[in-house]
Structure formats: C-alpha cells, structure tokens
Symmetry: C2
Subunit: 179 residues, 2 copies
C-alpha cells in the first residue's frame, strides 16, 4: 500500500553531471534513459509477418513484431520473444537491418532481418490478427508507425544483397523523431 505519492524535485545527484528527477520522500533517482525496442522484418518465403494491434497506441493498425527489450536477454533474444508473444511465431534472427533513434519518445529501435522457421502463426494477446503477406499485399495506408514503413522500405532497398551497412533514421524524418 502506498503512504505517499511520488513527488519529484529536479536536482543533480552526487557524482552525476546533470539534473534528474529525485523523489523528495525517499531520494529515488529517476534516471530516464532511452528505452530499447527490438523488432524484426520477418519473412516466410516471399511473405512478411505483420500483426494487427490489440492495444493502444494505434489499436487496429498493422505493425511489425516489436516491443520493449527486457532484462536478462540479448537484443536478438528480445526480438525473437516479441514475435513469439505477438504472433506465436518462431524466428531465426539473421542480421541488423536498422537502428532508429526517436528522442521524441525516448526510444531506440533495433530492427533485425529474420526468417520464420514455420508458417504457423496466430495472434498472441497483443494482436487481434496476424498475417503473412506479399510485398504487394502490405497495407501501406494502415501501418501503425513511421518506423514500420521505414523498416519495410529499407529492407526492400537491399533485397538480395549479401552484405549492407544497417540503416539509421531516414533523411528528412526529423519532424517525426524529434520534439
């Protein structure tokens, strides 16, 4: 049970070099670091795995399997776990496709290329539907987030290449990524 609401002052903790939020009751320091999202462009033959969101934000829109990295896992394990949770999918993580920095929401998104070990997919608790769709069947107007567009288009731009340097934020995307 809570005795007190958190009540934060702005102050520089000992040994630190910038202002943080610190609880006036218990001196808890709220270190707000960017959070890591891990996800994938996952394929079965010529098809892509997409998931219809059962939760906000962007409920009802289509997304790639992705979510917050947890403690105790690698980035690759996190990306595979998210596909398992959202689409009951079994992924082979292959290589890094892109790293997006989105300071506006304090996220770094690490996107992988992956292949499905089986085409047996079905909605997990965070999805109302999951599908394997060809490139031409991707519901471009109903994608949940700009980074879903970016990852798919960037994947297409290096399709079949043996090696490529991973992508970052697309040029001209500052209005979407920053304040």
């Amino acid at each position: 049970m809570a005795d007190l609401d958190p009540d934060f002052r702005q102050s520089i903790p000992d040994g630190d070099d910038r202002v943080r939020r610190i609880c006036t009751h218990c001196d808890f320091v709220d270190y707000v670091n960017p959070k890591i999202v891990v996800g994938s462009v996952a394929r079965w033959e010529d098809k892509f795995l997409i998931c219809k969101r059962a939760i906000e934000p962007r409920l009802g829109y289509w997304t790639l399997p992705a979510g917050f990295m947890e403690e105790g896992e690698t980035v690759e394990q996190g990306a595979a776990r998210e596909a398992r949770e959202e689409a009951c999918a079994d992924l082979e993580i292959e290589r890094i496709l892109a790293i997006y920095s989105i300071p506006r929401i304090s996220q770094v998104q690490i996107m992988f290329e992956a292949t499905l070990r089986s085409q047996d997919v079905r909605p997990g608790p965070e999805s109302t539907d999951v599908k394997l769709v060809t490139w031409d069947e991707i519901p471009w107007d109903d994608l949940a987030f700009p980074s879903v567009h970016w990852a798919l288009k960037q994947w297409k731009s290096v399709e079949g290449q043996a090696a490529y340097a991973p992508f970052g934020n697309p040029a001209g995307s500052e209005h979407l990524t920053h304040g």
Copy 2:
C-alpha cells in the same frame, strides 16, 4: 532532503505482465530496462583513438570513447558526444560496427566506426590521457573491458570492406555477458 529510504516490494503493476520493484512509500515503479552505451572505434589515418580512464570501474586502463546515451539525442550524436567529452575529439560517425548485449550488467552497447575530423585530441574530465595509436601500439594487456577487445578485433576483421553485417557478441563470450 529525504524523509524515508526507498523500500521496494516486488509486485506486478496494473497493466504490466511481470514483477517490478515498487517503492512501498510512494508506489514509484522501478522499470529496470537495459541501458544503452554508445561508442566508437575512431581513426585518424592508420591510428586509433584510445582513452585512459580517470574513473572507476577499471581506472587507469585504456578504453574506446563510449558512455551512456542520454535523452534527446540520436545514437550517432551520443557516440560523438562521448568522444568529445572523453577526448575533446571531433568525430564523423560512419556506420554501425557491432551491437553487444551484456545482460549481466543490463547494457546494450552500440559501437560505431568513425573517423576523426582533426588529430587534435586531449583528455576530458573522465580521462587521464588520450592517444592515437597504430594497431601494433594498442595496449592489449591494459584494455579496460572485453568489449573494447571485441570491437577492435572485429573492426580489423572487416578492414577495408565496403559493406559488412555488424557484429554481435562473439561466440564463446557467454561467461562474460551473462550472469
């Protein structure tokens, strides 16, 4: 001033799906997500930038410029900022070299290839010395962290390649990265 020490219970917050540490006084939820370290293998001609640590851990050992990502910046900006803070160095960030997952200390380290825009480097507050050294001059026995070794060796293994897939944790490193 603090009235109470933080005192955490283990509990699942509303709408979450796993146990978190929650302060019994003020219900502050301690979401412990992996933190992002950004750094670089930075070169001036055939030389590498290394920094002698002025702070714990591994005070007195040599490292690559790297540190915790802050809010409001991209991963590339964070890697450039760390080199500026630690070595007063001006970097051009080129591409992603590696992403290391180190669950043992809850870090994800994103390492870039970079070049120096000038060879004018000098110690910042977190370094007692900085140097530009050739490959043969790297103080292998006095490097601060395993990931410093990994980044340098992996850089060498793709030296001169136009494109390559970034590296992850080296095979056989589980004893260093996991609990």
